[in-house]
């Protein structure tokens, strides 16, 4: 049915285009001068039909299903949900939905069957209503557009105005995404802070998000101190940068100063491949190769290396960041003006002296920007740590130990759990909020540095 609505829309737009085109041509052939070309009259009609109805269908699709679910839930017998948690309510609704889809398990109660039938009926009506509404709308719009075809009508300005607004709204959409991220995080985080005091979260040294599922369960109350989790992220990020910064910078220096044209043309694409490897692959590489190797090496050295040591996740993350840092540093070094290089060489400086004393210091702001962006990526990187780092939060800075990370906790807390009414799941949003604020701060700073640096030499 949704497909039908789209087909109606596109057919109507095409009809509108042809109708206006023909009408405009008829006027022209009649000897009158049009303000705009006939094609613009057609285009105007097509746009007038397409844009509003397309938006209408999208909004309908986004809102119809949740609305129907709410209607069905409201129509259930009084008191069905009394005393039930979110999980139990979701279970009932899921069962009604499966019944509506024709998947019957066991013998459901009659009221569930009734509800399922109501659900099917609502959905059918909603689909029908959508098609009818779309039909009415396109007919009205086509007629409206047809009426605009006159010699004076500025169809070019009209259609260009619509296009311009369309493109502007695409640009504003980017802001809208940021606003959506922030408000979603703020909303869920505020729910979390209503249950757990913010000071406990920010300064607590204990992270044990397991909470009792049943009332009578004897379990830890759940502790939500973010310090050990964040410390784990820092340990892993430090290991990663210890690997990535020297290797990345040295690669960039070699590429920029010593590599021949041909070597560059081989090494650069190769680094691009390395940069394009998905992080889930790096994560698997960490558990398949690096972690076992670190463990056996540690054993021969007499060191006690945990099986999911921060060293494994960190070093693999470092490998991931090498091409990132080297390409930033290469760009920064390349944008140092040739005149400075010439100046140093003309004084009789060797290549290494030119590089280390003149080019590198001149490029430092640009390189710093790149390193900061790498730091932000290391903090926000998810899959490598989810696969290779630990789950238990420990207050340690020993990279041989197993530590957890902010992103690991976010993912494990939310996988397979969508009840947003307990501190365990909500704490993931508080972590996400923290992650967002920190990375945003670093990014803003880094991008500003890079921008300033570009302005100096451009």
């Amino acid at each position: 049915m949704t497909l039908l609505a789209f087909i109606i829309l596109f057919v109507a737009a095409a009809i509108g285009y042809v109708m206006n085109l023909r009408a405009a041509r008829a006027i022209r052939d009649g000897g009158s001068a049009l303000h705009s070309l006939a094609g613009f009259h057609g285009m105007f009609s097509a746009l007038v039909v397409l844009v509003p109805v397309f938006v209408l269908i999208l909004v309908w699709l986004a809102l119809a299903d949740p609305l129907i679910q709410r209607l069905v839930a409201a129509s259930l017998p009084e008191g069905t949900f009394d005393g039930l948690g979110t999980g139990a309510i979701q279970l009932i609704m899921a069962e009604i939905n499966s019944l509506a889809g024709g998947r019957v398990f066991g013998t459901p109660e009659q009221w569930k069957i009734d509800a399922a039938e109501r659900l099917v009926a609502y959905e059918r009506n909603a689909d029908l209503a959508l098609v009818v509404v779309v039909l009415i709308a396109v007919v009205a719009l086509v007629i409206f557009a047809r009426r605009t075809v006159t010699t004076e009508f500025r169809a070019r300005q009209g259609s260009e105005g619509i296009m311009l607004r369309l493109m502007a709204s695409c640009a504003i959409f980017a802001i809208f995404v940021t606003v959506a991220i922030i408000s979603a995080l703020v909303y869920e985080t505020s729910k979390f802070f209503a249950m757990v005091p913010i000071t406990d979260f920010l300064f607590g040294l204990n992270w044990e998000p397991q909470i009792p599922i049943r009332e009578d369960q004897i379990a830890a109350e759940g502790a939500f101190g973010v310090v050990p989790v964040f410390l784990g992220t820092l340990v892993i990020a430090t290991v990663a940068l210890t690997v990535a910064i020297p290797v990345g910078l040295m690669t960039a220096i070699y590429l920029n100063e010593f590599a021949s044209r041909r070597a560059r043309s081989v090494i650069k694409p190769f680094l691009e491949i390395l940069a394009g490897v998905p992080t889930v692959v790096y994560g698997f590489f960490a558990i398949l190769v690096i972690a076992p190797w670190l463990r056996s090496t540690g054993a021969t050295l007499g060191l006690d290396v945990a099986s999911n040591t921060a060293l494994a996740a960190g070093s693999v993350m470092g490998i991931m960041l090498i091409p990132f840092i080297s390409s930033f540093a290469d760009d920064a070094l390349s944008s140092v003006p040739q005149s400075l290089r010439d100046g140093a060489l003309a004084l009789g400086a060797t290549r290494s002296e030119t590089m280390l004393n003149v080019l590198f210091p001149a490029a430092i702001p640009g390189i710093m920007g790149g390193i900061l962006l790498a730091v932000s990526r290391a903090i926000g990187e998810t899959m490598i740590v989810v696969m290779a780092a630990g789950l238990i939060a420990r207050l340690t800075i020993n990279p041989l130990d197993s530590v957890t990370a902010v992103t690991v906790q976010i993912v494990t807390l939310l996988i397979g759990d969508s009840a947003f009414d307990n501190p365990k799941t909500l704490s993931a949003f508080a972590l996400g909020m923290m992650l967002f604020i920190i990375t945003l701060g670093i990014n803003v700073l880094a991008l500003r540095i890079v921008r300033k640096y570009r302005e100096i030499y451009d």
């Binding site: 021949s260 044209r261 003006p337 005149s339 400075l340 290089r341 010439d342 100046g343 140093a344 060489l345 003309a346 004084l347 009789g348 400086a349 060797t350 002296e353 004393n357 003149v358 210091p361 001149a362």
Partner: protein, 265 residues
Amino acid sequence: MDDLRRIERTAEMSDTKISAKGVQVFYGDTHAIKDVSVEIGDKTVTAFIGPSGCGKSTFLRCLNRMNDTIDICRVQGSITMDGQDIYDPRVDPVQLRAKVGMVFQKPNPFPKSIYDNVAYGPKIHGMARTKADMDGIVEASLRRAALWNEVKDRLDSAGTGLSGGQQQRLCIARAVATAPEVLLMDEPCSALDPIATAQIEELIDELRQQFSVVIVTHSMQQAARVSQKTAFFHLGNLVEFNDTDQIFTNPQDSRTESYITGRIG
């Protein structure tokens, strides 16, 4: 004044510092310099003039092997300095450039302090044993470049913060600080205003006492003002090389004549 200069010229002509024979330069497939032979005297200012794109800067960059830094550039022929072939494979361009300093078209001070800019050359060449030695070299070089009085109170401020003329004099001080024997200047005044240009020109005349100076310029007046010898380049050829007076008063080649009278350029 004019008479005095003429006497000096004849007195010092004899001593050849750099001698180029049959130099050819190629940029990839482009033949940029065609069979140029020229002798550059010691303690003389030699000017290279010619329309833009004539190869005068390219030839200048051959004299301290700056063209080595360009991958696609090939140099043939022989260039000797004090009788030694500078393109001999045993010659280290680093050592050569310490002896042949260069000042560029656009002032290019390093993004460091004024002091560090001047001290950089002596430092890498190990010319000063103590801090006091270095201070001495920096002061002397800045004085030589006629900049000392303007910057002596702010040696620690950034070299890039100076005015254009000051920056160019700083670059001259930087080049002089390594005690070169030859100083190459690639249109050193083209980015400067007339007052700064006058200062630099006066300075070049001073520098002649100690160095052999080669200056590339697109301004014939400048060549006439500062140089004793002038070479006219056209389309990669050295058309005429003679005493500056001769070139400007009595050119032997019709192309030179056309150029200095403004008919080609």
